[in-house]
């Protein structure tokens, strides 16, 4: 493209007396397009490299004198962008004016880029992804992000790590207004996006005949409603769909505090359990040992206070118990009530050596906790049973030779029973744990789902 042209708006009267030292106020201007004659408002105050006529799309260039020269005559139709040229809005605590609008696309992902300008603060880039309705605000950063060595393509800047999202050539498809760079429809630039939602860094390489520049832009997700408020737009903004590249993931953001509160709850739970179990008196109601298997135990016991209920623990054990079992049918019959409590308890112990590994299973002592037992007098009845395959009394010398039973098997001779009241009921104490852990786990799952949706649109779908 040749920039030489004879078409110039007008000689400026200012040229006779150059605005030296710029002590006068910089002025906005209203000129006419050299191609279509339509009005062009110039509000960029001098740093402008290109002006694209909003009406016809002709490309103009400000000369040193301030006059416009026509570079490229066009006759495209004006298109409505989601925000209008020259709208003003407040973002980041400052007022900004849209001086240029540029539609860009990487194949399949079009967006509208609004060049925001404040003469005292420079430029910002407000981007609206037209495909999914998400917004971001960009600002050129002076620092250089460092590439993180390793498999994952990532950069780190100011202590924050950003993962590579996508790299592609972006093309300009439409432009209007003023630009401090040489914009032209069809221009391509390679853009690499790195994300740490809701933040991101975009690295764009801009090459020209006399040099090349690596522009680093820090981006931050904006909510559509925030943009609409900032620019005081009527109605509702285009709906946001899916998970935008920089859309926040509140599940992830709150993961830390959720885990922390989970930890706090677990600590509280632990101490509460310690306290409650410590305050349980575990008073012994009845104990009998060295009982023989040939008789039934029948004993009157008093449990708790009349009118109140308590927890009762019944423990049953038998001796000796090697590769054998013992069973007790325990019944608590209230003396002045109706409903008896009955339970079967089996103590067993088995062990062996198989495939080079020793194993053992079973419990020599079984404990059973009964919750909410009404206080009062009970008749405790225990009917024991046992494995009789290898009784020690048949082998008084303890030789355990073949005729008396299988090797390594000892059937029980005696049994014992213990009844305690006001014991700690551990099965209810465990209940809160899955609930406490459930919240962060659920958040983790939902957060992961959201990230998958986001990354499905990237160069690195998971």
């Amino acid at each position: 493209m040749t920039e030489a042209t004879s078409e110039v708006t007008r000689p400026r009267p200012a040229e006779a007396t150059p605005p030296r030292l710029f002590r006068d106020e910089a002025r906005t201007e209203a000129v006419q397009c050299l191609a279509c004659g339509g009005p062009i408002a110039l509000r960029g105050f001098g740093a402008i490299q290109r002006v694209v006529c909003p009406a016809c799309g002709s490309l103009l260039r400000p000369e040193d004198s301030g006059a416009l020269a026509l570079i490229h005559r066009a006759a495209r139709a004006h298109q409505e962008s989601v925000l209008p040229l020259h709208a003003r809005g407040r973002l980041d605590g400052a007022t900004w004016e849209i001086v240029g609008i540029c539609w860009r696309t990487v194949p399949g992902w079009p967006w509208q880029e609004f060049l925001l300008y404040n003469p005292y603060r420079g430029y910002r880039y407000l981007a609206h992804s037209t495909g999914d309705g998400h917004w971001s605000l960009g600002q050129v950063i002076p620092g250089a992000p460092k590439i993180v060595p390793g498999k994952r393509h990532a950069i780190v800047h100011r202590g924050r790590s950003y993962r590579h999202f996508s790299g592609a050539d972006a093309y300009v498809t439409y432009a209007e207004g003023e630009f401090p760079w040489q914009v032209q429809v069809g221009d391509a630039a390679h853009i690499d996006d790195f994300v740490a939602p809701p933040h991101g860094i975009s690295i764009e390489e801009v090459a020209a005949s006399d040099g090349v520049e690596l522009t680093r832009t820090a981006m931050r997700h904006l909510d559509a409603a925030e943009v609409w408020r900032a620019f005081d737009r009527p109605g509702k903004p285009p709906k946001q769909k899916g998970v935008g590249m920089l859309a926040p993931n509140r599940w992830r953001e709150q993961a830390r505090s959720l885990w922390l509160s989970c930890l706090v709850f677990l600590v509280v739970w632990y101490f509460a359990v310690q306290h409650v179990s410590g305050s349980a008196s575990e008073r012994e109601v009845f104990q009998a040992t060295d009982l023989r298997f040939d008789s039934v135990l029948s004993q009157e016991v008093t449990i708790g206070e009349p009118g109140a209920s308590t927890t009762v623990e019944i423990s049953f054990t038998a001796y000796p118990l090697d590769n054998s079992w013992a069973f007790a049918e325990v019944v608590l019959i209230p003396l002045d009530g109706e409903e008896a409590i009955g339970l079967g308890m089996e103590a067993s112990s088995y062990s062996g050596f198989e495939d080079g590994e020793s194993w053992s299973e079973g419990d020599r002592q079984v404990d059973h906790v009964l919750g909410r037992v009404a206080g009062g007098r009970y008749l405790l009845q225990v009917t024991p049973e046992r494995d009789t395959s290898a009784l020690a009394e048949n082998d008084p010398l303890g030789l355990r030779l073949g005729t008396f039973g299988p090797f390594g098997v000892r059937s029980p001779d005696t049994w014992a029973i213990r009844v305690r009241e006001d014991v700690f009921l551990s099965r209810y104490a465990i209940l809160p744990v899955p609930i406490i852990l459930g919240f962060p786990l659920l958040a983790w799952l939902l957060g992961r789902r959201r990230e998958r949706k986001r990354w499905a649109n990237s160069d690195h779908p998971t």
Binding site: P18, P19, R20, L21, F22, R23, E25, A26, R27, T28, R43, G44, F45, G46, A47, I48, Q49, D64, G66, T95, N118, P119, Y120, R121, G122, Y123, V140, I141, P142, G143, A144, P145, K146, H157, R158, P180, W181, Q182, E205, V206, A208, S209, D210, G211, V212, E213, L214, T215, R216
Partner: protein
Amino acid sequence: MERERQVSCPQCGAPAPFRGTAVSLVCEHCGSTVVRTGVDLRLLGKISAVVDDGSPLLLGGKGSFAGRGFEIVGRLQLRYARGAWSEWYLQFSDGVGWLADFQGNYAVTTPVADGPELPGFYNMAIGTWHEVQGGEHMVVDKRAARYQGAEGVLPFVAEPGLTFFSLDLAGPDDQFVSLDYGVDPYRTRPDVYLGRAVELAELGLDRLRRFEGWRD
């Protein structure tokens, strides 16, 4: 600082307030470029034409950087294919510095006495990291530019139209390094300017340009 001697513009006779080690001055009244060589003044003619680039900075503005006060005493405007930018010449009480001004992005640098040995301009690829003054910096901008014009005083004679070569490097914490190869891109000891990026507001400038429809 060297005492200011009362000298006049050879063209129009207005005072030519040379300061410190300044070598050239653009006369505020007639726009002539006046060059100081020793005790003599030489006239370079009316060649300076600073274009309005919309910068909010003003010659004569006073501010501070890193706790040191400065005055903006000169401006060099440069032009390259992608636009124009300004380098404002700063006079600190104990030295000089530059304030780079490009599309609302600013950086203050001061000259480094003994710059490192570096590859020539053409061998410094964009995006590569180099050690300068004990820190790692990435080449972020590489360009050949022309002097467009000047205002105030400058420490050298900037002849408009001359092409010179420079690189900008950025550090991870907003450090800013400018390598000035002058007119010789094959030099291996470019002039080094070291500093950092700044926000305009943090310089606390006492005067800024006025823009129609805007208040700072």
